[in-house]
């Protein structure tokens, strides 16, 4: 539901990093999003196409890496994936479990083009 401000943030961060690196075009964005972060890929892409227009990020491809919510049972040591209506450990039924991943919500990296030629070694 809040994909517009989220997409705006993604664009702001991407442009800032691309400018710092002297990029002339952003080609790809790699995003990491955990299962517990409620974001709909399609609507981010939809807003992206609109708000990136006229920037060096126009036409860039968004890649979403989805991370499942992975759990660890502190009692029987089982690693398992969070299921919809069953959070407790499926092996021993315990609730002393920890969330190992699933909260992520960040930009991992950008693929950009620069004016530099491969041989140039300017600092």
């Amino acid at each position: 539901m809040h994909e517009l401000p989220v997409t705006q943030s993604i664009l702001d961060i991407a442009l800032r990093h691309a400018n710092e690196a002297g990029a002339t075009r952003i080609k790809d964005l790699y995003l990491v999003i955990g299962q517990l972060s409620s974001i709909i890929d399609d609507s981010v892409q939809f807003y992206w196409d609109i708000i990136s227009e006229g920037t060096i990020a126009e036409g860039a491809t968004l890649h979403f890496q989805r991370l499942n919510a992975e759990m660890h049972c502190a009692v029987c040591d089982l690693d398992y994936r969070l299921q919809e209506d069953q959070f407790a450990c499926p092996q021993c039924g315990n609730t002393h479990v920890q969330l190992v991943s699933g909260d992520e919500f960040y930009i991992e990296s950008l693929e950009v083009e620069t004016d530099e030629t491969p041989s140039s070694d300017n600092a």
Binding site: V6, S9, A23, S38, A88, V97, Y106, E111
Partner: protein
């Protein structure tokens, strides 16, 4: 040529940074600030009204009301004696740190001991946007059902305090307390929880005692 730039930056970092600015304003004024989140109709405004009724005069509570439209809730809490500011988000489904920053210009923090921000009724989005408050408070309610932790794990995971409202309805509604608590415990182990009823007043003593503790701790900070 083409190259890869490592970024590894949280997508909502701009909001996070602004929330830090809000936080330092609360700290400087020694105002204990809370962010009330809940689904529509869970009883956020009712809990604020009941809290105001029981606080007495020694602790002054301010309220920032976030709503998509209307000033109904701000009027309700003003009537109950709070200093209140209304934010209309104009369709936005959650509050963001900059909206709180703007609302603060209409509130004199120096005249307050506590602040409640009533977020837009929504269990999905508000959890992702920090406002700078000291505690995120989730108000769940019995008629919503016992499966909400399972359906909205992001929200249950991101809060510091849980109020379970409308306990007066427990005799009439199928609500498995163990199932509810189990989901909560896994997402948020040891979460401070207050079962309350705004209708009977049940459970409010414990909640008020906790609030007083928090406000006192805030006041006595050097």
């Amino acid at each position: 040529m083409s190259k890869t730039i490592p970024v590894v930056e949280k997508i909502l970092s701009a909001n996070d940074e602004l929330s830090e600015v809000n936080r330092s304003r609360f700290d400087a004024a020694r105002v204990f600030a809370m962010n009330f989140m809940a689904s529509p109709g869970a009883g956020k405004t009712s809990v604020i009204e009941q809290t105001l009724k029981r606080l007495g005069d020694d602790l002054r509570l301010g309220v920032i009301e976030g709503d998509i439209a209307t000033t109904i809730d701000a009027e309700r809490v003003q009537e109950a004696g709070a200093m209140a500011v209304q934010i209309n988000t104009g369709g936005n489904c959650h509050l963001e740190a900059y909206m709180i920053r703007d609302a603060l210009s209409q509130l004199s923090l120096d005249e307050l001991d506590m602040l409640v921000v009533e977020n837009v009724g929504n269990l999905v989005c508000p959890a992702n946007f920090k406002l700078g408050t000291h505690k995120n408070v989730l108000i769940a309610s019995v008629p919503e059902g016992d499966d909400k932790p399972y359906k909205y794990p992001g929200m249950y995971r991101g809060v510091d305090v849980l109020i379970l409202n409308k306990t007066d309805l427990l005799p009439y509604i199928k609500f498995n307390m163990d199932y509810f608590r189990e989901g909560v415990e896994i997402l948020n182990p040891g979460l401070t929880t207050f079962p309350v009823s705004c209708h009977t007043g049940e459970g409010f003593d414990a909640w008020i005692a906790w609030l007083r503790e928090q406000a006192e701790a805030m006041r006595s900070q050097s």
